[in-house]
């Protein structure tokens, strides 16, 4: 089992969609929300995903297809 920490950023049109619930239901992925800031017009959620790596990747592809932006939690590690 792998764990992956990611940040989802939602645009206004997706704020009301239960995307994280669907991710856990449609894929064999445990979703664990750690920090979030969701407002009427935008929002982000930092969460840990646990599952087989292939399944996590399939789930993330689906999330991306819904229009959610996905970024690594650790931001860029390559510096000038």
């Amino acid at each position: 089992m792998d764990k992956l920490r990611v940040k989802f950023t939602f645009v206004e049109s997706l704020i009301k969609e239960p995307i994280i619930w669907k991710l856990g239901r449609e894929f064999e992925v445990v979703t664990n929300i750690r920090r979030a800031d969701v407002q009427a017009d935008r929002g982000w959620v930092i969460l840990e995903l646990e599952g087989e790596r292939d399944e996590i990747d399939r789930g993330l592809d689906w999330v991306k297809d819904q229009g959610v932006r996905i970024d690594p939690v650790y931001e860029d590690v390559v510096e000038g």
Binding site: R5, T9, R34, R35, R42, W44, I46, E48, D71, P72, V73, Y74, E75, D76, V77, V78, E79, G80
Partner: protein, 418 residues
């Protein structure tokens, strides 16, 4: 002695012991070093600092490591230059340049890496590592050599020869990674998770970042123990910017300078400006970008401290400027031609950014303004090559010399009187 007390999560405030960790286990927020300021305040005086070594380690008590075992390659206490020519041109009465080109590996990264290396040795790591497009790689390789540690330095495969030599000379293990920006980032995160190395800007990051505070300390001391009114700082991850401000605040808390409500402004190149873009949107939400600029030392598309930089900017009544790549080159030339300082592209961003901030009314003529120049121009010569004037090529005769001079200037200079 160090007065570092613990690590603290910047988001949820949870405390951790001083270990090689950088992320809160609970909320994944970044960790920051927290100090016993009361004890520090009793021990640190202006005289004590002034009697210290002529390097950044004169502020050792304000850093998170043991001064006796610090790895000091002669970093810091770089010149603070009164920039009268440039100031006159920009309409600023009291402009100063903090010239951090003069560090041992010619950039401010020596400050952060010096602290990270010292702490890494205290944690008994035997390997120092980083992923970098230039300055950080040079500094990590140099400090590892001095500390007797192994160095693993990851660089993009298409890096310019000059930047490779600046690291390779210290004989680190240089790993040239063939891949896009995101792929190199992902690989280095995976490597840092797997191997027990001190990655200076990953697991050492809380300590590493503290090294930038010394820029704030030095500027205050060099101004005669006075905080500047306005700082202009290049923005990459946002860490340098926030830590300079932290340094100034700490000196005020310790009673070493009067509080002046220093304003903090930043500059980015248009081709990678996630912090300035969010600022201009009046938002604290950073939208990561794919970098495309000649200012490669600032090319961080998903900045770790972007949010905190925006908070500092808002709290201090600062502003953010963006400049085009052409303006980056113009800024480098302007600084060289007015003050005799040859900066790398990040310096061009700062000078042209300062000009924009002045034009837009964000910087007042009567403020004590400090522009931070963080790296030397010899590192990014290719950026200015197309813009510089070629030499006059002549035969070795006086006629040929005068002909060439007249052709260029239209007139010959006055000769000595007979």
């Amino acid at each position: 002695m160090s007065f570092a007390k613990n690590l603290k999560c910047r988001e949820c405030g949870r405390d951790y012991s001083l270990d090689p960790i950088h992320v809160c286990e609970f909320c994944f927020g970044p960790l920051e070093v927290f100090y016993d300021y009361e004890a520090m305040g009793r021990a640190v005086t202006r005289d004590h600092i002034e009697g210290g070594p002529p390097t950044m380690w004169r502020y050792a008590e304000l850093l998170p490591c043991n001064p006796e075992t610090a790895i000091d390659i002669g970093t810091g206490l770089t010149p603070l230059v009164r920039a009268r020519n440039l100031g006159r041109l920009l309409g600023l009465d009291r402009l100063y340049i903090k010239n951090d080109c003069q560090n041992p590996t010619w950039s401010f990264k020596d400050r952060v890496v010096s602290v990270a290396t010292s702490v890494a040795r205290e944690f008994e790591f035997d390997t120092l590592a980083c992923a970098s497009t230039g300055n950080l790689a040079n500094s990590v390789a140099a400090h590892a050599a001095r500390a007797g540690m192994k160095a693993r330095v990851f660089i993009p495969a298409d890096l310019e020869q000059g930047k490779i030599i600046g690291s390779a000379i210290y004989s680190p293990t240089l790993v040239a990674v063939d891949g896009g920006y995101d792929e190199v980032n992902r690989l280095c995160s995976e490597v840092s998770d797997k191997y027990p190395w001190a990655f200076v800007n990953i697991n050492m990051r809380p300590y590493y970042a503290e090294g930038s505070k010394t820029l704030g300390y030095e500027v205050c001391e060099q101004l005669g123990w006075r905080a500047p009114d306005h700082c202009i700082v290049p923005l990459a991850s946002g860490s340098l910017y926030t830590k300079i401000y932290k340094g100034i605040k700490e000196l005020s808390w310790l009673g070493l300078v009067d509080w002046r409500a220093t304003r903090m402004s930043g500059a980015q190149a248009e081709g990678c400006s996630p912090i300035a873009e969010a600022w201009n949107r009046r938002s604290f939400l950073i939208k990561p970008q794919k970098p495309n600029t000649i200012a490669k030392s600032l090319a961080i598309g998903n900045p770790a401290d972007g949010y905190y930089a925006l908070k500092t900017m808002a709290d201090t009544n600062g502003a953010a400027a963006t400049v085009t790549d052409e303006e980056v080159v113009e800024g480098i030339q302007l600084l060289a031609e007015t003050e005799g300082i040859f900066a790398e592209t990040a310096g061009g961003v700062v000078i042209s950014g300062l000009r924009r901030l002045v034009d837009d009314g964000h910087v007042r003529a009567d403020e004590v303004v400090v522009a931070f120049i963080t790296g030397a121009g010899l590192k990014t010569q290719e950026a200015v090559l197309p813009a510089i004037q070629p030499p006059l090529t002549i035969r070795a005769t006086l006629d040929s010399f005068e002909e060439a001079l007249e052709e260029r200037d239209g007139v010959l200079p006055a000769a000595r009187g007979v």
